[in-house]
């Protein structure tokens, strides 16, 4: 299948060149190009900046030669046009033309990832972060035990509960987590960074929403669950069940959400963790895109219609400081669009790559950590120059702790400064697109991605390459190379191997979950299990039946979570389908 994608991209590039040639040699066709170009220009509105400068709302290259015009219009497309190099949508983050208060699109791109302590702590952080936002877009981080499908009262977890994310064991925690927000509201969405136990956590979310707002809320729920099984095997190591079983549970969930939750994004195809584990930018893009195509193939094999689930797939990429990030997302959008159109025959809605970006956690350094503010600012700028649909900016203190309020606020404000204070993105679309350097990077990155696709195909496709440990070993090799470059000084890191002061890392406040709270959570889940002891066995047996008889596991989980904790459900599923065997 990746072979077909490679051929489609190469075929696309050739066809663009043919059209360029035709525009130059065929007078009639050349004339058509010029006319279209003039019409596009004529339609572009203008805006006046606070300094009195009059600017077009969309920046276009200064070209008037038919061949070049054809290359621009067909090869990269206007924002919102195939192959979406310049952006998935027409307007992205433009401010209104007569001032900056209201953006053209109702949704702000800023996302703030948060999760700490117990559900009520994260809930308070959510309310703190969204106090001034028009739209409420919550992005949730879970603690280690939740990520691994364990209850807080499992053996040997003391110290881990509520660390690095929020502890969620039961539907009651889920209710506390989003208390005070109107789930199902047009301006509310929740994103959950959860993978191995994603179907269980989403089932808790759905069940909690039904408890508060009634059964009709389900169809109105908006949000994202990460649920990216393949990148877990390749990089993040948080898978619970064997790959086959994990993919089945995922398929059940996608089937359910496409039928009953049309506004939900059931998989966030993620390169972020691949890059954080050490992959180079081209590897990040290649593994993420190929995983995406593999999901499309798997879901189609299940009998799902690409027109229904295609538009509900979204992507999540890392943005670091390497030069590839000047154009990485632009190339990704192009390859996704061509693959979806030409290999899977999908319509435009499915061709548009919807992209969330996060600045690189790996680029943050503990030494002289305030430098991280600068690193993150540059990464943010690159992410928006690549027309990301939404973005999370890391806090400077994340090199050593779950971020404290002070640095979270600075990180959020960095985005406001970039989008609202600076004139780079609010006046016109494409202020930075298409520079010669960007074009050069695009070409090199595209070739690199296609070369990776060929290698994966040679190993028998994505799943077979996973079994051969291909992606894993490549990521590990890249990580070793990075480390060696840092050690040798070949990769400069200010404050670490350049311009380092001799002083130690200053002690900055760290956010930890006190033992008292951890014990409270342990107590809560114990009580929940005791209270539901009568019904939990029966609920688990019902779940077993569905797993064994091939029914939709996700639909059943929405009932199961009423009486069972995360750990109880995970354990039962382990008994039925086994454990994921880690790869080294």
């Amino acid at each position: 299948m990746l072979d077909a994608v490679v051929k489609a991209v190469e075929g696309f590039n050739r066809s663009v060149e043919r059209e360029v040639e035709r525009a130059r040699t065929d007078a009639e066709f050349g004339k058509q190009q010029l006319e279209r170009w003039r019409a596009i220009r004529a339609e572009i509105g203008h805006t006046t900046t606070p300094t009195g400068l009059k600017l077009p709302r969309l920046a276009l290259p200064q070209i008037d030669e038919p061949g070049e015009i054809a290359r621009h219009l067909l090869g990269e497309g206007l924002p919102g046009e195939f192959p979406f190099v310049n952006g998935a949508y027409r307007q992205m983050y433009l401010g209104s033309s007569d001032g900056d208060r209201e953006a053209v699109t109702p949704e702000e791109p800023t996302r703030l990832f948060a999760g700490l302590g117990l559900a009520e702590d994260t809930n308070a952080r959510f309310h703190y972060l969204t106090g001034h936002q028009r739209s409420v877009r919550l992005s949730t981080a879970f603690d280690g035990p939740t990520l691994y499908g364990l209850d807080s009262d499992a053996d040997g977890l003391l110290g881990k509960v509520g660390e690095g994310g929020v502890a969620v064991d039961t539907i009651e925690d889920m209710e506390r987590l989003y208390a005070g927000f109107t789930l199902g509201d047009e301006h509310f969405s929740a994103s959950m960074t959860i993978n191995g136990p994603a179907p269980i956590l989403l089932a808790m979310y759905v069940a909690a929403a039904k408890r508060r707002f009634g059964p009709d809320v389900v169809a109105a729920l908006r949000g994202t669950v990460q649920a990216d099984v393949l990148k877990e095997v390749q990089a993040q190591n948080e898978l619970l069940f064997p790959i086959d079983a994990s993919l089945r549970f995922l398929g059940d969930m996608v089937e359910y959400t496409t039928q009953h939750m049309p506004r939900w994004y059931p998989i966030s195809i993620s390169g972020y963790h691949i890059a954080e584990a050490g992959a180079m930018p081209v590897q990040q893009a290649a593994y993420t895109l190929s995983n995406g195509f593999a999901y499309v193939e798997l879901l189609r094999e299940r009998g799902l219609d690409v027109e229904r689930f295609g538009p509900r797939l979204s992507f999540f990429l890392d943005c670091g400081l390497d030069v590839e990030y000047l154009a990485l997302a632009r190339v990704c959008r192009k390859i996704w669009a061509i693959g979806m159109r030409d290999v899977f025959g999908a319509s435009e809605r499915s061709q548009r790559m919807k992209l969330h970006t996060q600045t690189s956690g790996r680029s943050l350094v503990a030494q002289e950590f305030q430098n991280n503010l600068t690193r993150t600012a540059v990464e943010l700028m690159l992410a928006y120059a690549n027309a990301t649909n939404s973005c999370h900016s890391n806090s400077a203190d994340e090199a050593f702790t779950t971020p404290g309020e002070q640095y979270v606020r600075l990180a959020a404000h960095a985005q406001a400064i970039l989008l609202e204070e600076t004139g780079l993105f609010k006046h016109m679309m494409n202020a930075l697109g298409g520079s010669p350097g960007m074009k050069a990077v695009e070409k090199a990155v595209e070739e690199g991605i296609l070369a990776e696709f060929r290698e994966i195909e040679r190993l028998g496709g994505v799943l077979s390459a996973v079994e051969h440990r291909y992606q894993r070993s490549q990521i590990q090799a890249a990580a070793h190379r990075y480390e060696a470059q840092v050690n040798s000084g070949q990769r400069p890191i200010v404050g670490l191997n350049r311009y380092a002061s001799n002083g130690h890392v200053p002690e900055v406040g760290v956010v930890r979950t006190p033992a008292r709270k951890q014990r409270l959570q342990v107590d809560r889940v114990k009580k929940f299990k005791k209270r539901h002891a009568k019904h939990s066995c029966k609920a688990l047996d019902e779940l077993s039946k569905v797993v064994e008889h091939g029914g939709n596991v996700f639909a059943q989980l929405i009932d199961t979570v009423e009486d069972c904790s995360l750990g109880q459900i995970t354990q039962r599923l382990h008994e039925l389908v086994g454990h994921f065997r880690p790869a080294v």
């Binding site: 280690g144 881990k160 086994g578 880690p582």
Partner: protein
């Protein structure tokens, strides 16, 4: 006995609920380059798993790489468990990038952690620490106090002590199974699945595993089998990983002595290990790693991708194995491989049984068949004895 001239052995792991293995992978490779033998336990491992493995593997130090928080409690728990078992001599060290603060470090040191490395530590500093700190085995190993059964076995393996000579290899109990085959055939996964079945059939049984990994010429070794084993990290399973240290043929110079020692181990009521499994390194075509008196039965594990019929003719183990397993039966070519191997081995009716299996599959019937061929019947009978014993107590 001092073993100062032997390579340094350490164990490395990532704590429970933590999958950040990038740093530890890099550190493992660096340590190996400097001659260290690293037993790698993998990620998402409990303190109990780490302490148990450290004792069984007779390592001098335990390195823990933690990025998901809770390190103060977790490191302290490992130290505590080691001390409880009488293994105070095994030192615990580690790091967690920027997540471990200086204040944490003070606290952790006060709870017995030997050393914490902070963010930005050059790799060479970690390597130098390991080479200096663990160059000589600690004196007075568990001189006083009670020591755990695992530690006792571990020390016997180190000293090569054989208790009464009434147990001989290759005859009678315990049953010793040899598992061999080319690299990548899935030997380790298969063994882990056999262990699971043994523990299910007889929860009272005790199992020992001797696993081999190659040393890199002139360097150390990465002993990584434990990292992919799920069911063998168990209180009733004793596992020792051995590096070949330059010896050819698939086993280590110490294998025989270790096996003899394990076979002579006695637990309560004179019972020994019920099952001992020996895994070779990935072998070549000509290798016949097990001497006749070393193991009771052997399994040759192959994947369908062995090449042509001609290649098959050259595989020496096909002559002597009791069972040939064609693993990864979900792969293309598996059926053809079964037929070819059947023709190659079964021409005179005396050859090995050929089993098709898919070890990665949950409750794979092929693995069940292999289990009953290699171990099953005998174990089933023992199970009844053990149950009767348990009822008496």
């Amino acid at each position: 006995m001092p073993r100062a001239n032997e390579p340094i052995r350490i164990l490395t792991a990532v704590p429970i609920c933590d999958g950040h293995d990038s740093a530890i992978n890099t550190i493992n490779l660096e340590l190996i380059r400097y001659g260290v033998e690293v037993v790698y336990l993998g990620y998402h491992r409990s303190a109990r798993d780490i302490a148990r493995a450290a004792i069984q593997e007779d390592v001098r130090g335990v390195g823990i790489s933690s990025y998901n928080g809770g390190h103060v409690e977790f490191f302290a728990q490992v130290v505590k468990l080691l001390r409880k078992e009488g293994a105070r001599h095994i030192k615990v060290f580690g790091g967690g990038g920027g997540t471990i603060t200086h204040a944490d470090e003070k606290l952790m040191r006060s709870r017995g952690v030997d050393r914490i490395f902070f963010a930005g530590t050059p790799l060479c500093e970690i390597v130098n620490y390991v080479l200096d700190r663990f160059d000589v085995p600690a004196r007075g190993v568990a001189a006083a106090g009670r020591i755990s059964q695992d530690l006792r076995i571990s020390q016997m393996l180190a000293r090569g002590v054989q208790r009464r000579g009434n147990r001989r290899l290759g005859t009678g109990a315990p049953s010793v199974i040899g598992v061999t085959g080319p690299g990548g055939a899935g030997k380790t996964t298969l063994i882990d699945e056999l262990v699971l079945r043994q523990l299910q059939i007889d929860p009272y049984s005790r199992i020992a595993i001797l696993s081999h990994d190659p040393s890199i010429v002139g360097k150390g070794a990465l002993l990584g089998d434990r990292a992919v084993m799920i069911h063998s990290q168990h209180d009733r399973v004793f596992m020792r990983s051995l590096a070949t240290r330059g010896r050819a043929g698939g086993l280590s110079a110490k294998t025989r002595r270790c096996l003899e020692t394990l076979a002579a181990i006695e637990f309560e009521r004179g019972r020994g290990f019920d099952l001992i499994i020996v895994e070779t390194v990935g072998i070549g075509q000509e290798a016949v790693p097990f001497d006749r008196d070393l193991v009771a039965r052997t399994a040759l594990v192959m994947s369908p991708e062995y090449g042509s019929c001609l290649q098959l003719q050259k595989i020496a183990m096909l002559e002597v194995a009791d069972v040939v397993v064609v693993n990864k039966s979900d792969r293309p070519g598996a059926r053809a491989a079964m037929i070819e191997i059947g023709q190659r081995t079964g021409s005179n009716g005396q050859g090995p049984r050929v089993v098709s299996a898919c070890a990665k599959r949950h409750r794979d019937p092929g693995v069940d068949e292999l289990f009953s061929l290699l171990i099953g019947r005998q174990s089933g009978a023992r199970h009844l004895v053990h149950r009767a014993e348990a009822q008496r107590t």
